[in-house]
Amino acid sequence: MNGVVVAETVRRCVTSIAYWAFVALLAIISLGLARFDRPGTAWPSLVSLLAYIIGCTAIGPEFSSGTLQLILTKPVNRSVYLVSRVAGVVSAIWIAALIAFSFELLGRVLWVGAVRLDIIGAILINTFVDTLLICALLVFFASFTRAYFNIVIYMVLMIGLGVAQGMVSMFRSMSGTLGAWLATHDIVDRILASINSNLFPDAPPRLDWHWLLMIASNAAIAIVAACFIFRRREVPYGAD
């Protein structure tokens, strides 16, 4: 990890007005929705949205603009650079998550009086790990594409998986050989469901170490794979 790169990445996020506008929105929503029964009503998905927005900028745009060339002539190992970028981006997202979390706590103290720290705390930790996976996947997709194609791949994959799962259950309910085959072989469903829960998981409502470990290791695998691809990758001038 390169401290200079991490610090610069965080600095670039937290010096942007858009970032603070988003964080302010998060804070207001967390505070407001703390009146309701269900903890963590909206902010975890908004933090995921922030993870899409910031996470997709980690490598792709630098690759396209030629910024990467300036950096790669400096004595920084490419893998170290990539991991440091992820760390910086994830830190900026986690700061936002922490702020949202704090405002929900504040709201609960103000409006409700009782705080279920265990539940809200679990939501925070799940959000941490979930956003780490989002960034890891975005960086993985960026390691072999340019510009913002990583987020395009991510969305297409996520939506495509949902559509595929829907189509499989639709075909199964139909008569005919395909329907019959699918009815007796649930392997297709299981594969799709497994990919979905590994790449685009729904966080459990409480702390589940098994789930946390699975998501964290998926993120680690994505980052390691990204490093491997990125290390050998050509960085042509003005790729766009």
Binding site: V4, G66, Q69, L72, K74, P75, E234, P236, Y237
Partner: protein
């Protein structure tokens, strides 16, 4: 600090370098050396492959064949990186960053000690200290070029790669860049300079290579750039062998080209040619400036 690092001993070596994009063979066997304390210019028309060659040297691109070593090390070695400076053809960075914060980041990546002082000094030296706290989005092309020089020089590199360093610069900027290159040379850095502008290159380079159609067309040692080339035109019926012996070149059609050092040499050569019985009808001379050499190649 970079100052305590050993200076370049062997410089940049390129052997039989080939690079293609798909079926488009851009570099077709390049041999090139840049010694420490030497400024080598690479000129050629747009699309000749100058940037591609530089990108291979900096390990942005993987060559299809050939070898690149820098001080005997592979060019992607981090020890080489630490002593490398690069000015890209066009500077690109987060446009919201100020000149100062950009340079600070670059200095941090290059592990420069005493960063603030160094950064301020570089900005001062390149004449953009006044714009230090402005955003890069407000910089002109020339100012970006200047800050590009700053980030390349801030760690006193031993290997300096400049891709069209004076494009977009005003005349003062061009002079400044020339001075800076001369300084780097004095320090013992090996400098490789890309350009399609001939006038700028000739003044600072020890040697110039002409890159054209994927090969290095000709190397000229500029120390001899002020020698004189003469073209002697003769009536038909001259003794071609005797003329070739005198001029060092075989005549083509009825013209022989020769290179001499002084004007006295011209007179001497013309006398010798006449002595063979040739009917000299015209003698033209011109200095072998880069422009002329380049036109002969391109």
């Amino acid at each position: 600090m970079s100052r305590s690092l050993p200076r370049a001993e062997r410089g940049v070596q390129v052997r039989a370098l080939k690079k293609s994009f798909g079926s488009h063979a851009v570099l077709q066997g390049i041999d090139l050396d840049v010694a420490p304390g030497e400024v080598v210019g690479l000129i050629g028309p747009n699309g000749a492959g100058k940037t591609t060659l530089m990108s291979c040297l900096l390990a942005f691109l993987h060559p299809n064949a050939g070898e690149i070593t820098i001080d005997g090390l592979p060019n992607d070695d981090l020890r080489v990186r630490r002593r490398t400076g690069f000015v890209p053809e066009r500077m690109n960075f987060d446009r919201r960053a100020t000149g100062y914060s950009f340079l600070r980041y670059m200095a941090g990546l290059a592990r420069v000690g005493n960063r603030e002082t160094k950064v301020r000094a570089m900005l001062e030296r390149l004449g953009i200290a006044g714009a230090a706290d402005r955003r890069l989005s407000q910089y002109s092309r020339g100012m970006l070029q200047r800050i590009g020089m700053c980030q390349a020089l801030i760690h006193d590199p031993d290997f300096l790669f400049l891709d069209e360093p004076t494009s977009g610069l005003d005349p003062n900027g061009v002079l400044l860049v020339r001075d800076l290159i001369a300084e780097q040379k004095q320090r013992g850095a090996a400098v490789l300079l890309n350009s399609h502008q001939l006038a700028e290159v000739g003044k600072v380079c020890d040697r110039v290579f002409f890159l054209n159609r994927g090969v290095i067309g000709r190397e000229e040692t500029l120390r001899h750039a002020d020698r004189i080339v003469i073209a002697i035109t003769m009536l038909p019926g001259f003794d071609a062998n005797a003329i070739a012996r005198i001029a060092g070149n075989a005549p083509k059609e009825n013209v022989v080209i020769a290179t001499v050092e002084t004007e006295a040499d011209i007179a001497q050569m013309v006398r010798e040619v006449i002595a063979t019985g040739a009917g000299v009808i015209d003698v033209r001379k011109h200095t072998a400036d880069l422009e002329g050499i380049f036109r002969g190649v391109a």
